[in-house]
Structure formats: C-alpha cells, structure tokens
C-alpha cells in the first residue's frame, strides 16, 4: 500500500537540473539557503522569487507538485505569518483592542512565510530531481571533501535506511494485523491508552529490526565489506560544463543577495 511512496519521491526527468551532479546540487542548496536568509528587503526578495521560480521551471517539475509539498507545513507557515504580523512594532495599520497590525509586521510576516515556502520548494526540488543513490553518493563525497569523519558510514546508513523504509512499513502493517487479530485496538481511547497500545507493535518491530541488522551485517561481511577504505564505486560522479555554469549562477545569486541588502 504505502510501498509506492518514497520519502521525497524522485520524479524521473531530462531537465538540466536533473542532469546536474548531485554534489553541485547539494552545495548549491546550501549557498541558496545562505542567500535566502541574507535578503531582507523588497528588492532582495524579488531576486530570490525570480531565481526560485526560474529553477522550478527549469527543472520541469510542475508547480502543483511543489505546492503539495507545503501541505505538512501549512500550520507552521500560517503560525509564522500570524506571529510576525501581530507582534511586530511599527506604523499601525489596523487595531482592535490589543491586537494590532503594522506595516512592518505585514512585511516581516510575508517575508518569513515566503522564506519558509522557498526553503521547502528548493529542498523538495533536490529530492525530486535526484535519485536516492545519487544523493547519498553526492553527500558522501561532499562530506569527505570537507573532512567530515565517518562520511562513508553516514552515507551507508542513509542508503540502508532508504532501502528499508518500504519494507519496515510493510512489516508494521503485518504486525498490526496480527495483534488486531488478537483483539488489539490501535484506534480508540485517549492519548495515554493509545500510546500503551503501541507496545505490542513497537516491541516486535524493534526486535525484528535488530535481527535484521544482525543478518544484514553478516551478509555484508560475507561480501567483503570492511568500511569505506579502498572501496570503489560502480557509478562515478563526473562534473561537467553544466555544473560549472551552475556554480557560476549560484555564486552570482549569492552575490546579488548580499548586495541587495545595501539597496
């Protein structure tokens, strides 16, 4: 049932964004975030908006898909907006009792909400245009380049986690059904009783996960795994002209973002 949904589902495509080296995309994401958090005026946000929309169009992913990604965060976005709108001091536009809306508040609120939405959009764009393997490979190489310890192990953990998410979901369903057949009820009752009812679900799940980890480790050792030293990779990551151009673009964006603060 839930097997077909993967976290940050990858949508295959042929766009320039798809074809970029994952390392480029990861580094670009970080630089983008820096730029996004640096802009603080109308001009700056205009630049960011144009850049973001441009990227989305370039990637060939539909706007609808991106907007769907906002759904889990609607609450936070609305909360942020509200807090800023009502809590910022400045020129009062409208007042009712102690509730007041200021020009500055409106501005801040909209900026912060936009910031959140753009952050989510571009992060989704990353996972929508990059396969999980490419992502973990890229992450591993980037971390290694920055001399982060256990870079390989982290990437390996990510790969294995991604691989087993659908399997674990399937297993959870199986255990739930088995316990329900014995009269377990996961749906009714107050918060506390529902939490308690999770024990017959979580204990077997944990146990099987430990067993799984043990067997997996043995299988990996049987195939000569001994950590990241001297391992090669079948899929090589190669940067091309496209990536150089992308770096140029993102640095330009960053430059303009910084500069916009002085407009």
């Amino acid at each position: 049932m839930l097997k077909d949904i993967t976290i940050g589902q990858y949508i295959p495509g042929d766009s320039p964004v798809h074809k970029l080296d994952p390392r480029t995309k990861l580094i670009a994401l970080v630089l983008y975030m820096v730029g996004l958090f640096l802009v603080n005026n109308f001009a700056g946000y205009l630049v960011v908006t144009l850049f973001t929309i441009g990227l989305i169009i370039l990637s060939g992913i539909s706007i609808v898909t991106i907007i769907k990604g906002f759904r889990p965060l609607i609450l936070i976005i609305v909360l942020t907006l509200t807090l800023h709108v009502f809590m910022t001091e400045g020129h009062i536009l409208w007042q009712w009792g102690f509730l007041k809306i200021t020009v500055e508040g409106l501005r801040q609120g909209i900026f912060m909400a936009l910031r959140l939405m753009y952050l989510v959009s571009i992060t989704s764009l990353l996972t929508l245009t990059t396969t999980p393997i490419a992502l973990t490979d890229g992450l591993e190489k980037v971390l290694k380049a920055f001399f982060v310890p256990i870079a390989h192990e982290l990437a390996m953990m990510m790969t294995i986690a991604l691989r087993f998410i659908p399997t674990l979901i399937e297993e959870t369903e199986k255990i739930m059904k088995a316990q329900m057949a014995r009269g377990a009820d996961f749906e009714s009752g107050g918060l506390l009783s529902r939490a308690k009812s999770l024990i017959p679900l979580l204990v077997p799940l944990f146990l099987s996960s430990f067993r799984r980890a043990d067997e997996l480790a043995m299988a990996m050792e049987a195939r000569c795994y001994r950590g990241g030293e001297q391992r090669t990779r079948m899929k090589q990551l190669v940067m091309g002209g496209r990536d150089v151009f992308a770096y140029f673009l993102i640095v330009a964006f960053l430059g303009v973002s910084i500069y916009s603060r002085f407009w």
Partner: protein
C-alpha cells in the same frame, strides 16, 4: 453457525491509479467442524480472503457473515466479537511475540476481550496445554529465549486463548524443518478432532492432502475449485496450468492409468498408492 461469503468482491485502493481487484465474486460457506484447505499460487487472493474471515478487511461488495455478525455492517468497536470467534494465525506468528513472559503474551488476547484475571489465568493454562507446552515450565520464561518451534507454539497458543470456534492458519509450517512441520500439523489435527473448525492455507500439497477433507483452490482472485480434496486433485492439468502441483503419489496413479492400469486416481498417500497397486497387480494375475 457457518461463515458465509456472498458475492464478495474486494478492491485494494479503489478509485486510485493503484487499484487492484483482489477478490472476485466469492461465494463460500464454511460450516462448523470442517477441515478446509485453501490453496492457490501467490497473488491468487488467499490472504485477502482470509483477512475477511475476522474482519481485518471488509468486502467492497457483497457480504461476509460470521455467526450472527454481518462483518461489513459491524462497527469497528464490535469487531472484537468477530475476532473472538475466528482466530487468525498469520505466517511466522512468532514475530508478534512481545511480552516479558510467555504467560503475559498469551494473556494479551484474553485481556483485550476484557476478561477477569481468574478467567485469563485459566485460558492461558488451557492454551499452553493445547500446544503441548508444560505450563509450569514455560509460563515464567521469556518468549525470546525459546527455540523457533516453541516460539511458534506460544504464538499459536496466544490465538487459542481467545477460544475461537474457527481457527484459520496461514502457512503454519512455513520455515519449519520436517520434524517441526509434523509436530505442528499433528497439533492442528488434534485441535480439529476436539471440535475446532480449521481453515488451513498452504502451499504444500502433501500437507493439505494429508489433513483436509475439503479443498478450495483460488486463482487470480476467484475460487476455481471447491470440492472434496480427492476430487480436486483429479483436475491435474488445470492445477498444473495454474502453477500448482499435486502429491507425487497422485501423479504416479495418473501415469499408471495412462499406461493402461485400472487404478483409482484419487489416491493421496503412499499407503493408499500401495494398496491400489497391489490390488491392480493381483487382478492382472487372476486375469492372466
């Protein structure tokens, strides 16, 4: 009272691009006291059907009646009544064990039924007895220190403690060696002899031939055969087309028949085969 399936359809994720029809027009009656086998290739709908027996799934169309309960009309809160009557043992049931002691784990079912402590104690004792595990020895042990076969029996006891009228077992011998398999099947046979209605889902033709009186064969979401076990195995070619096999001795009888021997083909065990062959040879001698 029987379990009745009437014109049952089941569709997974109806209306979505992932829509799959898992059951098509199922009409069945399972009477109390029967020993029914349910076979079919993977994907034929067996496990979907089985989950309708205790209300884990409700039909998309048609009705499923368990005793007096119309399953599709039963509210979630009342489904416990259905699960009291129909005990379902999934594959690798030992994977559902979670309590600190064998006693506690087996007590889980009765506790969910809201029974008194005294009654729960009685049921746990009885259930352990039914799976041939000594109460005094096992009740305090952690289920996780037991052997694979023992764990499985504790898991089955956990379902038996609900005192169901119908016991449905999905591949109870999966992953067991011949000895373990024989033990479990002997216990299931014993339970049946003591009055339990049993539905046995299995891939093993030999197991099913040995134990069941009636066999339901499923293929591509539908029931293809629903007859006496012996009758079903006479449909050799059709079964093969579906990717199913028949017991080796039955195959032998078919081949002998091809060669002109006058033997019955609805033979299920080695003993029966021997008798048929000796009989046929004697007849030849008297005719020679």
């Amino acid at each position: 009272m029987p379990i009745i399936f009437e014109k049952v359809d089941y569709i997974y994720q109806p209306g979505s691009p992932y829509e799959v029809k898992a059951l098509e027009n199922i009409n069945l009656v399972i009477n109390e006291g029967e020993f029914v086998g349910l076979i079919g290739p993977t994907g034929s709908g067996k496990s979907t059907l089985v989950q309708h027996l205790n209300g884990l799934l409700k039909p998309t169309k048609g009705s499923v009646k368990v005793d007096d309960y119309e399953v599709s009309a039963t509210k979630k809160s009342k489904l416990k009544e259905v699960r009291k009557r129909v005990g379902l043992v999934f594959q690798y049931p030992e994977h559902q064990l979670f309590e600190e002691t064998v006693f506690e784990d087996i007590a889980f079912g009765p506790k969910n039924l809201g029974l008194s402590t005294g009654e729960i104690g009685k049921r746990v004792k009885k259930a352990l007895h039914m799976v041939h595990l000594d109460y005094d020895k096992y009740q305090e042990l952690s289920p996780f220190t037991l052997s694979g076969g023992e764990k499985r029996r504790v898991a089955i006891a956990g379902v038996l403690a609900m005192e169901p009228k119908y016991l449905v077992l999905d591949e109870p011998t999966a992953g067991l060696d011949p000895r373990g398999r024989d033990e479990i099947l002997a216990q299931i046979e014993e339970l049946h002899n003591q009055g339990m209605t049993v539905v046995l889902v299995s891939h093993s033709m030999d197991d099913v031939a040995r134990l069941t009186e009636r066999l339901i064969v499923m293929h591509q979401s539908a029931v293809v055969f629903d007859e006496e076990t012996r009758q079903v195995f006479s449909h050799f070619e059709r079964l093969q087309e579906m990717g199913l096999d028949i017991p080796t001795v039955t195959k032998l009888m078919f081949r002998l028949k091809d060669k002109g021997w006058s033997v019955r083909q609805d033979v299920l065990t080695v003993e029966e085969a021997k008798q048929e062959i000796l009989l046929a040879l004697k007849e030849e001698k008297t005719h020679a």
